[in-house]
């Protein structure tokens, strides 16, 4: 049985309630950290664990924490990124809904490590029910003395609040999130300065994903070395993968990093194979922003090695033949799926979600969407395909925040690996695969724009 760090107590009845959570070992990490460890020791344990940010970029968490400006006499903040809006990603919501106290326990231990006395959990506004659930759980934690003044007699104070978003994918980007938390439009900030130096209200701030923070209690309880012994190479520990699309068992799975992709897709312990016995066509393995890979390249690397669920293996081959682990949003396409239509959909998404601050992303995403819309609806030209690649190139790397890249990568990769499908749309405008299908993509009529 694979190691479970986050979802170990998933099946325990009533685990949402603090008493049940505590009866199953919950909040041990808080007393251990506050009573037996110094904040610096805690940072060292997290460094030793090799834990990497689970929000998408995979940046080593311990290192991020050590960048926090501790010389500043300003207050320090920890902000949890629970904006989870990357298409294909639904692991944070799953975790917060089922085991809310794990995140709260993580927030307390991580805030202590960083010397933060006020922390916020920024939850996307659409998850109002999760917000209510977290607020209830926080009230329970206050009642037990895990939050507030002088926690467990340690002298450490912490106030923890939940902040709702308002419907904007861009607020998952950490500096846009901070702007939003300050009550402003979610416009990402130019960096530097980085939040570790000047973040919330201009104070030193760490922003971490829900899953990252929820991994901290286990590290406190079992030690960084124990965490580092799980997983593969620099991909230590476990990762929540949210699997969706044309598979038999969509859902959230906690995997030990390094699991072969093939096993993840076909084993009954995970996705259970392709739905209705169809053939696998392609996978977007880390949320909509990462490059799509065709069947051959998702199961094996270009060198013929088995592809593994790890940061390194999924990135093997760079963007020519590889992709990224990203947020762990694993989207599976079966043989019927239309790559062009999906790309149009994703590009429409980025166009819709661009904050509009910088010209390449503001103008380029809309341009790409319109060209893709034409191709998908039978009005494309051969030259449009290279035009798309060129527009994507002029966005990538030229913008304030990575949303521009996130919009460009799917375009570049879909055309790189499925160029024939784009050409077929242009040559045979009436024979888009989708039109012959029922269920998925059954309708050629554009019904998605208002």
């Amino acid at each position: 049985m694979a190691t479970k760090i986050l979802l170990e107590n998933l099946a325990v009845e009533g685990i949402r309630a603090i008493d049940t959570y505590m009866a199953n070992g919950g909040y041990r990490a808080v007393s251990k950290a506050l009573k037996e460890m110094s904040p610096d020791q805690l940072v060292e344990e997290v460094k030793a664990s090799g834990l990497r940010g689970r929000g998408g970029a995979g940046f080593p968490t311990g290192m991020k924490w050590s960048f926090l400006d501790k010389k500043s006499d300003k207050p320090r903040y920890l902000v949890c990124n629970a904006d989870e809006s990357e298409p294909g990603t639904f692991k944070d919501r799953y975790l917060m809904e089922r085991i809310p106290h794990l995140l709260i326990e993580g927030m307390i231990t991580a805030s202590y490590a960083l010397g933060a006395n006020t922390s916020y959990i920024y939850v996307r506004g659409e998850m109002m029910s999760v917000i209510r659930l977290l607020e209830r759980a926080i009230a329970e934690a206050y009642a037990k003395g895990f939050l507030g003044k002088n926690i467990l007699g340690s002298g450490y104070d912490l106030e923890l609040y939940v902040q709702p978003g308002g419907g904007a994918y861009i607020c998952g980007e950490e500096t846009a999130l901070l702007e939003s938390l300050e009550g402003k439009r979610g416009n990402p900030r130019n960096k530097p300065p980085f939040p570790a130096v000047s973040g919330l209200y201009g104070c030193p701030t760490v922003i971490n994903n829900v899953e990252t923070i929820a991994s901290v209690p286990w590290i406190v309880n079992n030690g960084g070395a124990a965490y580092a012994s799980i997983g593969l190479g620099k991909s230590t520990g476990t990762k929540l993968i949210s699997a969706c699309g044309n598979i038999r068992q969509p859902g959230v799975y906690e995997i030990e990093l390094g699991l072969p992709v093939e096993e993840f897709i076909y084993s009954d312990a995970y996705c259970g194979g392709i739905a209705e016995g169809r053939e696998l066509k392609a996978v977007v393995p880390g949320g909509s922003s990462v490059p799509i890979l065709p069947k051959e390249l998702i199961l094996k690397t270009a060198a013929g090695e088995p592809r593994l669920m790890s940061y390194e293996s999924l990135a093997d081959g760079g963007f020519v033949s590889g992709s990224m682990l990203g947020s762990g949003g694993f989207i599976v396409f079966d043989e019927r799926a239309c790559i062009v239509r999906n790309l149009w959909n994703f590009t429409r998404f980025y166009h819709h979600e661009s904050c509009g601050q910088c010209s390449p992303c503001r103008e380029g995403t809309g341009w790409m969407e319109k060209v893709l819309h034409r191709i998908e609806h039978g009005h494309g030209k051969m030259s449009d395909i290279d035009l798309l690649v060129d527009v994507a190139k002029h966005i990538e790397g030229k913008t304030i925040c990575p949303l521009g890249d996130a919009a460009a990568w799917p375009v570049g990769s879909a055309i790189r690996h499925f160029r024939d499908e784009f050409e077929a749309h242009v040559k045979h405008p009436d024979s888009c695969l989708a039109k012959h299908l029922h269920g998925a993509y059954a309708h050629a009529v554009p019904i998605m724009e208002p």
């Binding site: 509009g356 010209s359 390449p360 503001r362 190139k393 002029h394 030229k398």
Partner: protein, 322 residues
């Protein structure tokens, strides 16, 4: 002095104090400095948005000789000691800049022939240098109704490039901002949300900071193309502002009053609405003499013709948005 930082831009070096940006250093060096559509030195926090000023940092500093991984916005990136920057000499920079200019133009109406700003428009200047011969953009363009914001200023949102300068200007020059950026993405617009007029003694300055013809002087519209009028430096005693202006004259008639722009096209001495809109008699002013025009500008180089970019197929198509 040891605390000066040495930076090399396109092969020429200069020493600058810490905190100086690449753009500022390049402007001090003279020659071809990066263009700026959103950065406006006299206004705090401007810059970083339009991306036309992107440059390549080939060496980060003496201590860190590696290049920066991406092109950086020169207007907000600070110089480090030993930094080596490529601006005009980098094909990568020029390609990126052409791309940005193309993006700025796809939703821009090609109405230069009827635009008040023609002849002194930063976007027009930029497209001469970085524009494509023909547009590759065949889709519908964004369109808005033009609106009056108050008695003096007209907003033609269709032309706006969302540089945010006017928002910072309103914040920093006037006490109460009533206009701002509404909506998001490519349907963002400058506006007041509810029909409202901008009434403030310094509100007219948003016209001067606008790099394109989106904010224009209602008291001037259609009187005269700018290149037919002659600019004169002039001043008057004003208890609200410095009173130093440029009068745009045709014969003896003042057709427009603006603030003075420096060699980088920026106003450092902002003027009040009283000087700008209410003093249109030559007798109101002490005229100092004719004003030199910046040589690079379209009027300066006397190269005004039709815009380089040919009109798109369906210029009139309404932009479909939510």
């Amino acid at each position: 002095m040891s605390d000066l930082l040495k930076v090399t831009i396109d092969g020429k070096s200069i020493e600058v104090p810490p905190g100086t940006t690449i753009m500022q250093a390049a402007r001090q060096l003279g020659g071809k400095y990066p263009p700026a559509m959103c950065y406006y030195e006299p206004l705090k926090n401007t810059g970083g948005k339009c991306r036309v000023c992107l440059v390549k940092v080939a060496q980060t500093s003496e201590a860190n000789p590696r290049p920066m991984p991406k092109l950086v916005a020169s207007c907000i990136t600070r110089v480090e000691h030993g930094m080596v920057v490529e601006n005009e000499t980098s094909p990568e920079v020029l390609d990126a800049r052409n791309g940005v200019v193309e993006f700025l133009l796809i939703n821009h109406p090609l109405d230069c022939p009827v635009c008040d700003q023609a002849g002194e428009c930063d976007l027009q200047n930029l497209s001469y240098e970085h524009g494509h011969e023909q547009t590759r953009y065949e889709e519908g363009r964004r369109e808005f109704e033009r609106i009056d914001i108050g008695p003096y200023v007209q907003l033609h949102m269709t032309r706006c490039i969302l540089c945010y300068r006017c928002v910072y200007a309103a914040d920093q020059l006037t006490g109460q901002r009533v206009h701002g950026v509404l909506n998001r993405g490519d349907v963002s617009e400058i506006g007041t949300y509810i029909q409202q007029s901008i009434e403030n003694e310094f509100s007219g300055n948003i016209i001067d900071v606008c790099p394109v013809g989106a904010l224009t002087d209602k008291t001037y519209r259609f009187k005269q193309r700018v290149w037919f009028s002659k600019p004169f430096d002039a001043h008057r005693d004003c208890d609200k502002c410095c009173g130093k202006v440029v009068l745009w004259m045709k014969g003896d008639a003042i057709i427009r009053v603006t603030a003075r722009k420096n060699e980088f096209g920026e106003v450092t001495d902002f003027i009040c609405n009283d000087c700008r809109f209410e003093h249109k008699q030559a007798s109101d002013w002490s005229i100092e003499g004719p004003r030199d025009i910046i040589p690079e500008s379209v009027i300066g180089a006397n190269k005004y013709e039709l815009p380089v970019v040919s009109p798109a197929v369906n210029v009139d198509a309404k932009f479909v948005s939510e």
